[in-house]
Amino acid sequence: MSSLLNPAWALLAAVVLGVLALVGAGVHGMVIARSEGRSARSGALSPVFELARLLRQRRRRTVAADVLLWRVGCGGLVVVALLKTAVIPFGSWILADIPVGIVWFNAMDVLLWAVLWLLGWGANSAYGLIGGYRFLSQAVSYELPLMFALVTPAVAAHSLQVSEVVAAQNGLWFVVWMPVAFLIFCASVIAFSSWSPFGTAAGSDIAGGILSEISGVDRLLVLAGRYALLTTGAAFAVAMFLGGGAGPLLPDWLWTLLKTLLLLFVFVALRHRLPAIRPDRLAEVAWIIVLPLALLQTLFVAIVVVVGR
């Protein structure tokens, strides 16, 4: 299915990612406007205004900040999202259809452990540091369930290659017979994007946490990076569980786009509909309930695959 692409298309992929992230931010603006009693349309352009404001804003500095590590943290989110797009199929096109595409995606979301902690550390601010550690303790809870959620489609497809996983869903989308893995994956996407209800690392109770001291273009990069991460997560969920570009009438790239946008809207809209989940309370639930559930899901799929041979 995968057609070999000229690496120059990576530039277009970055543009598509940016536009989708902006659409996601626009939807969030609309949700906010609705909640404040304004018309939804009035909020649609708020990310554009915010972008213009942050580009003009002067950087605020803190005393004895570790500037190098701080900047790495600020830029890191966008870089990780871009690196993820390399293995995400867009219809039948895929930039780098490497044999271990799923592991690549997983390795990139592990990079976020480093990036978000550095973001909190670099500012030399107590709130930022608490935010960074909140993210790490949350990551300890979501990462293993996420890994097993990613293993499950790979087991069913006999391959870690993303295009093979998409092709294996020819008859039946994986979401139908591995719904638990799908839900865990979606929750993990929200968690590694530090998005509510898993957004306590940037919670208002600690003055914005990892976001508390960043301003100007740094803040722009981090906020854009979060939307980009949600977008790549939604797009990867489409490839892993929702049949990729499969669908009637429309071309496959359009189906990929539609499904990705739909999932992205769900992620964005969830933010204000659920109470915040504290990392210290999540740990026990994640390790005692969610992880065994993920393992059972993998076991079920493995048995089906072996018996069905």
Binding site: V100, V103, W117, W121
Partner: protein, 187 residues
Amino acid sequence: MLAVIVFCALAVVAIASGVAVFRVDSMARATYALAISFVAVGAMLLMFDLDYIGVITILMMVMEMAIMAIYMIMFMGMNPALMPMSMVHNNRWALILSAGTFVLLAAGVLLVPWPAPAESPTGDLTASLGETIMGSKMLVMLTVSPILFATIIAALVLANPRGRYDRWGDDLKRRSPHDLRRGGLGG
């Protein structure tokens, strides 16, 4: 040619960031300098077409460094981890030991009679590498892994300040566990 240049550049990055680990004055910088060193090694493995091992190396090492950041706050008293501090101590013995280790390993590289490759590996490189390294020693590995696992469990049991009798009562019959910190399962 290009491959050689990229490989050498990665090697230089790996060594330079390895040196940086001991030159910087902050735990955070040392930790992530080490992470960069490992990522460069992972990228070099990718250049051998060992996709899985390369990517997994990057994944594991970055995660490990982040876990180290958790431990450094958990266990370093008075949090010197948050202050500028020297990354070296016991310099003389450290130099002797590291130079000795280097000489030993380098001598090993030069003196060991490496087997000539019988035929270039076909099919899955990762699998054939695993066969070559572990094939005849699988029994040892199978023995070592449960021992390691048992050690981890034993260490956790010994280190845990509140065991199940504290949580569930002397006869383990309490209906919900008594935790110092509320939340999670069972209030």
